[in-house]
C-alpha cells in the first residue's frame, strides 16, 4: 500500500485529532510534500468546515438500521440492561461528536451505496411489517455496551469520570464509567420519544439550564396546538401543578393546561380540582378554574366531586371574587348528561 493511500485513509482521524502524535506528524509531513494529498486534505477540511455550519440532524432510524445491518453490526443492547449515568450538560465537545458522527455516517453510507450493485426493482410489493426495529438510541441512566459496538475512536474530549475496572469474566474485561455528553434531540412535537423526553425534563428541575417557567412557556406554545396535544405532556404539567413549590411554575402549569385541548387535558381534572381547592396562590386557583371552565365548555361531563368543589368555591366568602365568579360561571354551564 502506498504512502499516499495510507495517509488518505487516516485523514478522517487526522481531522478529529484522533491519530497518535507520531502518526499525526508523519501524515502532516506527507501532506506538505505531496500535492495530490495536499489537495485531498484541503477538500476534507473544507467539507468538515462546511459541515460545521449545517444543522445537526438525526440519522433516520431506518437508514441507520439498514446501514448497520449491511455492515454486519448489531444494534446496541436494550436500555433495561444498561448501567451508567448520562446526565445532560452542555459540553464543548458536542459539535465535534456530531461532526464525527456525520462523517462516519456519510462515509458509511457511501460505502453501503457502493456495495449495492443489483438493479433496483421498481415493481410494487405489498407493504408488510416484518419486524419492528427498536429505537437505536435510548436516553438511559445506565447502559452496557459490548466493546465491539463502540467505535475505537474517541471523538473530542468527552468528560469521563468515576472509572471502575471490573473483574475479568472469562476472557472478557470490563470498564465502567460516567460520561457526560451533549445530546440534541430533534423531531416532531408529536413524536413519542420527544413527548416522553419533555415530560421527563419538565419534572426534573435540576436538568434545566433556564427557569422552568420558561420551559413550560415553550411547551405551551408547542403543545396547545390541537394536533400535538398530548395527555402525557398534560400529565407532566398536572404533576407540576400538584407538587412544585415554585408558585411561578404552578401558575404557568395551570395556564398551559388551560390552553390544552380537552382530550389531552381532561385527564388532569383531578389536579385542577386539587389546585382550585388547596393552592394558596390565587393566580393558580384562577387558572385552575379557568381550565375547568374550558373543559366544561368543551362538553366534559363533571362528576359530583367536581361540582361540589365548584359550588364550595362559589360560596366561599373569603375566596378571591374572580375565582368565585368563574366557579359560578362553570356551574351555570355544567354538563350533567
Amino acid at each position: 500500500m502506498s504512502e499516499c493511500h495510507l495517509v488518505r485513509e487516516s485523514m478522517p482521524l487526522l481531522l478529529v485529532e484522533a491519530l497518535e502524535r507520531g502518526e499525526r506528524e508523519r501524515a502532516h509531513q506527507h501532506i506538505e510534500d505531496c500535492g495530490d494529498c495536499s489537495d485531498e486534505w484541503a477538500a476534507y477540511r473544507e467539507t468538515w468546515r462546511s459541515m460545521g455550519d449545517l444543522p445537526e440532524l438525526e440519522v433516520p432510524v431506518r437508514v441507520r438500521a439498514r446501514f448497520l445491518d449491511a455492515a454486519g453490526v448489531a444494534e446496541p443492547a436494550p436500555a433495561s440492561r444498561v448501567r451508567n449515568v448520562v446526565p445532560f450538560r452542555r459540553r464543548p465537545a458536542a459539535k465535534w461528536l456530531a461532526q464525527a458522527a456525520a462523517v462516519v455516517v456519510i462515509a458509511g453510507g457511501s460505502w453501503f451505496a457502493g456495495t449495492r450493485t443489483t438493479v433496483l426493482d421498481g415493481a410494487r410489493t405489498p407493504a408488510t411489517i416484518a419486524s419492528i426495529t427498536p429505537a437505536p438510541y435510548s436516553i438511559a441512566e445506565e447502559r452496557i455496551i459490548p466493546a465491539s459496538e463502540i467505535s475505537p475512536h474517541i471523538v473530542g474530549r468527552p468528560d469521563i469520570q468515576n472509572v471502575q475496572f471490573l473483574d475479568p469474566q472469562g476472557d472478557k474485561v470490563g470498564l465502567s464509567f460516567d460520561v457526560t455528553s451533549r445530546v440534541t434531540v430533534t423531531g416532531s412535537p408529536g413524536d413519542r420519544s420527544m413527548v416522553r423526553l419533555l415530560s421527563y425534563v419538565l419534572e426534573n428541575e435540576n436538568s434545566m439550564a433556564q427557569p422552568r417557567s420558561r420551559a413550560i412557556e415553550w411547551v405551551k406554545q408547542t403543545y396547545s396546538d390541537p394536533q400535538f396535544a398530548d395527555p402525557e405532556i398534560a400529565g407532566a404539567l398536572a404533576r407540576l401543578l400538584r407538587s412544585d413549590e415554585h408558585e411561578g411554575v404552578r401558575i404557568r402549569a395551570a395556564e398551559t393546561l388551560k390552553t390544552m385541548p380537552a382530550p389531552a387535558a381532561s385527564a388532569t381534572r383531578a389536579a385542577l380540582i386539587e389546585a382550585l381547592k388547596n393552592d394558596p396562590n390565587p393566580a393558580v386557583r384562577i387558572k385552575a378554574v379557568e381550565a375547568l371552565a374550558n373543559l366544561s365548555q368543551s362538553g366534559e361531563v363533571f362528576d359530583p366531586v367536581t361540582i361540589d368543589t365548584l359550588r364550595e368555591k362559589a360560596a366561599q366568602s373569603d375566596e378571591n371574587l374572580y375565582v368565585r365568579a368563574k366557579a359560578a360561571e362553570v356551574l351555570s354551564s355544567v354538563k350533567l348528561q
Partner: protein
C-alpha cells in the same frame, strides 16, 4: 318490616312510536305504599326528573314513580328499561327511594323518573336531584333538606327547619304563617324569593355578590358582616333566621299575596344604616352589572365601578379609573393617568401614557407600556411589563416578575418566583432593587452600566444556587447562617454608581451584560 308493595309496573304506554324519526316515548308507572314512622326519614335520590311531596296524616308513604323513556327504537327502549331502575330500601324508620341510572345517557335513549309522594307530616325529608323541571314540597312540619343542581325548587308552608342548596335553579319559599324554624337557602346562579306575612318577625341573613337584595318589608337595624352580606331583622328581632345566600342571583323578600312592589335594595338601604365599624359596610360598588362594559373609544376621562364584570376599553383619551370586584380589565391605551383595581382577575394593559397604578388581589398583570412608570401589584400571579419609561414598582404575592425594558429605577419583589429585569441599553446608572423569597434573579444591564452592587443568595443548596456575573469587580463571601449558606457578592462595576440590591432565597442571581455571555459561577 311490614311491607305491602302493590301495583307494580302498570306499564302504561302513553305514547309510542309516533314515527321512526320521532322514536318512542313510553311512561312506565310504578305505585306503592310503605310504612314510615311519624318521626322517620324519607330519602329521595332522583338524578333526573320531577318530585312532588305533600304531607299525609298517616304513618305511611304513598309513592307514584313514572319512568319516562325517550328511545330511538324498541331495542333502545328495552336497554333503557333494563338500565334505569326505581328502587326502594330501608325500614319504617328510614326509607330510601332511589333511581339507579348511568351518569350519562347513551345517544339512543334518555330517561327521567317523576315521583309523586305523600309522607307523614312530621317525618324528615331529604331530596337529592341533578336536573328537574320542578321540585315541590308542601305542608311538612319535619326537617327538609333539598340538594339540586338545575331546576326550580318550591317549598310551601313548611314548619320545620329547612336547608335548600339549589346551584343553578331558582328557589321559592312560601310561608303563609311566617317562618317557624330556621331556613337556609343557598344558590350560586339562581335567585331566591321568600314570601312571608307582612308582619312576620324573623332575622334575615342575605348575601348576593352580583345580584340585588330587595324587600318592601320593614328592615329593623342590621349591618353588613362582609361587603356583600347583610344581617338584619324583619319587623323585630326573633330567634328564627332565614338565610338567603346566592352569588349571581337576586334575593327578594315579599309579603304574601300578589304584589308589584319589590322594595328598596339592601345596598341602597345600607346608606342609612349605622355601621358597627369603619371597615364593615358595602365596600363594593353599588353597580352590579355582571356583563361589565366593552367600549371601543372614550373621548375623555373615564370612571367605572362594578361589583362584578369584565371591563374592556380599547382607548381612553383621558385618565381612566376602573374598579371591578371580580373580573378582567383590558385597556388598550390610556392617554392620561390610569388607576385600575380588581379584587380578583387578570389585568391586561396596553399603552399607558400617564402614571399607572394597577392592582389585583389575584391574577396575572400584563402591561405593554407603562410610559411614566407606576405601581403594579398582584396578590398572586405573574407580572410582565414590556416597557417602563418611568420609575416602576412591581410586586407579586407569588409569581414571576418580568420587566423587559426599564428606562428608570426599578423595585421588584415577589414572595415566590423568578425576577428578570432588563435595563434600557442607554442607561448609565440607575437604582435597582429585586427581591424574591424563593426563586432566581436575572438582571441584564448595559455593558457600560455603573453600579454599586450588593447581591445576596441564601440557599440550602449552594452547589445549585450561586451568583454569576458578567461584570468584573465583585467580591464573594460565603457564610453559614441558620443551616443555610449565605453567598454575598459586593463591589463596584464600571467604577460604581447607583445601588443595585439583589436578593434571592433558594435561587441564584445572574448579572448579565446585555451583549456578553454569562461567565461561569464565581468561586
Amino acid at each position: 318490616m311490614r311491607q305491602r308493595l302493590y301495583g307494580v309496573t302498570l306499564g302504561i304506554a302513553l305514547a309510542a312510536a309516533a314515527s321512526a324519526a320521532a322514536g318512542v316515548i313510553v311512561t312506565d308507572r310504578q305505585s306503592y305504599e310503605l310504612p314510615l314512622s311519624a318521626g322517620g326519614v324519607l330519602v329521595i335520590e332522583n338524578p333526573y326528573g320531577n318530585i312532588a311531596v305533600t304531607a299525609a296524616d298517616e304513618a305511611k308513604i304513598f309513592v307514584t314513580a313514572d319512568r319516562v323513556i325517550r328511545a330511538a327504537d324498541n331495542n333502545a327502549l328495552n336497554e333503557a328499561r333494563r338500565t334505569v331502575q326505581r328502587t326502594v330500601a330501608g325500614n319504617e324508620n328510614t326509607r330510601i327511594i332511589r333511581t339507579i341510572q348511568p351518569r350519562s345517557f347513551p345517544p339512543r335513549w334518555s330517561a327521567q323518573v317523576h315521583y309523586t309522594v305523600r309522607m307523614p307530616r312530621s317525618a324528615q325529608l331529604n331530596i337529592m336531584s341533578n336536573q328537574t323541571e320542578g321540585i315541590r314540597v308542601t305542608g311538612l312540619a319535619g326537617a327538609v333538606m333539598v340538594k339540586n343542581v338545575n331546576g326550580p325548587v318550591v317549598i310551601e308552608d313548611n314548619r320545620g327547619t329547612l336547608v335548600v342548596q339549589n346551584l343553578n335553579g331558582d328557589t321559592t319559599l312560601i310561608s303563609p304563617q311566617g317562618p317557624a324554624a330556621d331556613m337556609a337557602v343557598s344558590s350560586v346562579n339562581g335567585s331566591i324569593v321568600v314570601h312571608a306575612p307582612i308582619d312576620a318577625k324573623f332575622g334575615w341573613d342575605v348575601e348576593t355578590v352580583a345580584g340585588e337584595a330587595r324587600t318592601p318589608l320593614a328592615v329593623r337595624g342590621g349591618h353588613f358582616v362582609s361587603p356583600t352580606r347583610f344581617r338584619g331583622s324583619i319587623n323585630a328581632p326573633s330567634d328564627v333566621t332565614v338565610l338567603t345566600h346566592t352569588f349571581l342571583g337576586n334575593v327578594t323578600l315579599l309579603p304574601m299575596g300578589p304584589t308589584a312592589v319589590r322594595g328598596p335594595s339592601i345596598r341602597e338601604m345600607a346608606r342609612s344604616i349605622v355601621m358597627p365599624g369603619p371597615r364593615v359596610g358595602p365596600q363594593l360598588p353599588l353597580n352590579a352589572n355582571r356583563r361589565g362594559v366593552h367600549l371601543p373609544l372614550v373621548q375623555s376621562s373615564y370612571r367605572y365601578e362594578t361589583s362584578i364584570g369584565d371591563v374592556r376599553i380599547d382607548e381612553v383619551r383621558g385618565t381612566a379609573t376602573i374598579v371591578t370586584g371580580a373580573g378582567e380589565i383590558h385597556l388598550g391605551s390610556v392617554f392620561g393617568h390610569c388607576d385600575v383595581t380588581s379584587h380578583g382577575g387578570p389585568l391586561v394593559l396596553g399603552d399607558i401614557k400617564g402614571i399607572l397604578s394597577a392592582r389585583t388581589d389575584g391574577g396575572n398583570i400584563t402591561v405593554e407600556r407603562a410610559g411614566a412608570g407606576g405601581t403594579i401589584e398582584t396578590g398572586g400571579g405573574t407580572v410582565q411589563v414590556q416597557y417602563a419609561g418611568g420609575p416602576v414598582q412591581l410586586s407579586s404575592g407569588g409569581g414571576d416578575i418580568v420587566l423587559r425594558h426599564a428606562a428608570a429605577r426599578v423595585s421588584a419583589e415577589t414572595r415566590s418566583g423568578d425576577i428578570a429585569i432588563t435595563m434600557a441599553p442607554d442607561l448609565k446608572s440607575e437604582r435597582v432593587v429585586a427581591r424574591t423569597a424563593k426563586g432566581n434573579v436575572v438582571l441584564t444591564l448595559p455593558a457600560g452600566f455603573s453600579a454599586t452592587v450588593e447581591a445576596v443568595v441564601v440557599t440550602s443548596e449552594p452547589n445549585r444556587h450561586s451568583i454569576r456575573s458578567g461584570f468584573p469587580g465583585l467580591s464573594i463571601q460565603r457564610e453559614q447562617v441558620d443551616g443555610k449558606t449565605r453567598i454575598r457578592a459586593t463591589g463596584k462595576i464600571n467604577g460604581g454608581g447607583q445601588r443595585v440590591e439583589l436578593q434571592a432565597q433558594d435561587g441564584g442571581i445572574q448579572l448579565v451584560p446585555a451583549t456578553v455571555r454569562v461567565s461561569p459561577a464565581l468561586p
